[in-house]
């Protein structure tokens, strides 16, 4: 049987565009509220819902750019929702132009134009969102760099047996530092950072390093250095969210009886 035409009813499309533009209207203010209250999940959900619907509906109406952009925004919001990415200024600054671009595209289609006029500009908006999705990995790298720096700075003050333990710990930190930040090796597998949970070992290495410093190393240092180590540990600690720690060590308590690094 020969195919009959299949078109989206123009009035239906116009209605959809109008409703979608309306649904996006409050999002800018919600994003600004989220900036002030980055841990407020209600705000994240309020952002997620209209973006998620738009993502699902857009391809039915043939708006593939809307689908692409809203899909990426949804991924980022989902990571924020699951506490894998902090609703930082970078995240807000990636989502604001995202919302703005969605509105612009909807309005362009509403006036009968193609979805986008400037391919490069659109790609830049997508790239900013993708960078924000990668923020989780960047945080881990800062965490490791901070711990590595602390360990290296105290090494020369320690007796030989402790230096060996510190070196083992440094080795473990190197092993678990995301490979692309160490200068990507050509053989390293391509990892989709949106699907990368904070690995158990990463958090474990942090806890181990913190415990080693607190229990085995700090008592051997001069008071001035101890406060310096505490400061650095504190800032490293900020990078591991409470959820990551409690997920990794259910029950909330981290019993540290053995302060030597794995394999030491």
């Amino acid at each position: 049987m020969p195919a009959e035409s299949y078109n989206i009813d123009p009035e239906l499309l116009a209605e959809f565009l109008d409703e979608s533009i309306d649904s996006l209207a409050p999002l800018e203010n919600i994003l600004l509220e989220l900036e002030a209250e980055p841990t407020n999940l209600d705000l994240v959900n309020k952002l997620f819902r209209p973006i998620h619907s738009l993502k699902g509906n857009a391809s039915f109406f043939g708006m593939m750019r809307i689908k692409d952009l809203s899909h990426k925004m949804e991924n980022l919001l989902d990571l924020v929702r699951k506490d894998k990415v902090v609703a930082s200024k970078d995240v807000i600054n990636a989502l604001l132009p995202g919302v703005d671009t969605l509105k612009t595209i909807l309005q362009r289609v509403r006036s009968g134009a193609a979805e986008i006029a400037d391919e490069e500009e659109f790609k830049a908006v997508l790239a900013t969102i993708e960078r924000a999705v990668g923020a989780e990995k960047v945080d881990l790298v800062s965490l490791f760099n901070s711990i590595r720096g602390t360990l290296e700075s105290v090494k020369s003050f320690l007796p030989a047996d402790r230096v060996q333990a510190v070196d083992t710990l440094l080795g473990a930190i190197d092993r678990f530092t995301p490979p692309d930040k160490k200068g990507a090796s050509p053989s390293s597998p391509k990892v989709d950072s949106t699907k990368l949970p904070v690995p158990l070992m990463t958090v474990s290495v942090y806890v181990l390093a913190a415990a080693s410093l607190n229990i085995a190393i700090k008592p051997m240092l001069a008071p001035g250095m101890v406060s310096d180590v505490d400061g650095k540990l504190g800032s490293a600690r900020q990078l591991v969210s409470p959820t990551h720690l409690s997920n990794t060590f259910p029950g909330g308590s981290v019993a540290v009886t053995n302060t030597t690094a794995p394999g030491a």
């Binding site: 049987m1 020969p2 195919a3 009959e4 035409s5 299949y6 078109n7 989206i8 009813d9 123009p10 009035e11 239906l12 499309l13 116009a14 209605e15 993502k55 699902g56 509906n57 391809s59 039915f60 109406f61 043939g62 593939m64 689908k67 692409d68 899909h71 289609v109 509403r110 009968g112």
Partner: protein, 145 residues
């Protein structure tokens, strides 16, 4: 203001790692007047779906790399309104239940000796979409009263 749009035929995306099957089905559906896209793996299929509105996907189940059932899952998540018809020569109860569970319209068994069953599945899929459009328009008229 109503929008003006070009008249178009439904688009079918055919996905199978056996190129001769893709070619044969593409020829058949082009002949019937459909717009046709072709892919020989799931990744290629997903990139084609991202670039053009597609009404129906006809996909093989057993393919190297991402298989048809995972493709189906991805389509359900990313393109929830796109209809998916599975075709397979490797029939197990588990495969068939997976296709059903993940929301395939139907599954047509290979060899595709004649295309009557597949044609009917395609026609039904398009009718399903038309039915929803009609429903969406009804809602609009109700709101005006």
């Amino acid at each position: 203001m109503a929008l003006k749009m070009a008249d178009s035929k439904p688009r079918i995306l055919i996905v199978d790692d056996e190129e001769n099957i893709v070619k044969a089905l593409a020829r058949h559906y082009k002949f019937l007047g459909y717009n046709v896209s072709c892919a020989t793996n799931a990744e290629e299929a997903l990139s084609l779906l991202a670039s053009e509105r597609t009404e129906v996907v006809i996909s093989d189940i057993k393919m190297p790399g991402m298989d048809g059932l995972d493709l189906l899952k991805e389509i359900r998540s990313q393109y929830p309104m796109t209809r998916v018809i599975m075709i397979t020569g490797y029939v197990t109860l588990d495969n068939l239940l997976s296709a059903f569970r993940r929301g395939a319209d139907t599954c047509v068994f290979k060899p595709l000796s004649d295309l009557v069953e597949l044609d009917t599945a395609v026609t039904n899929a398009i009718e399903h979409l038309r039915g929803w459009q009609k429903k969406l328009r009804e809602l609009k008229y109700l709101e005006r009263e």
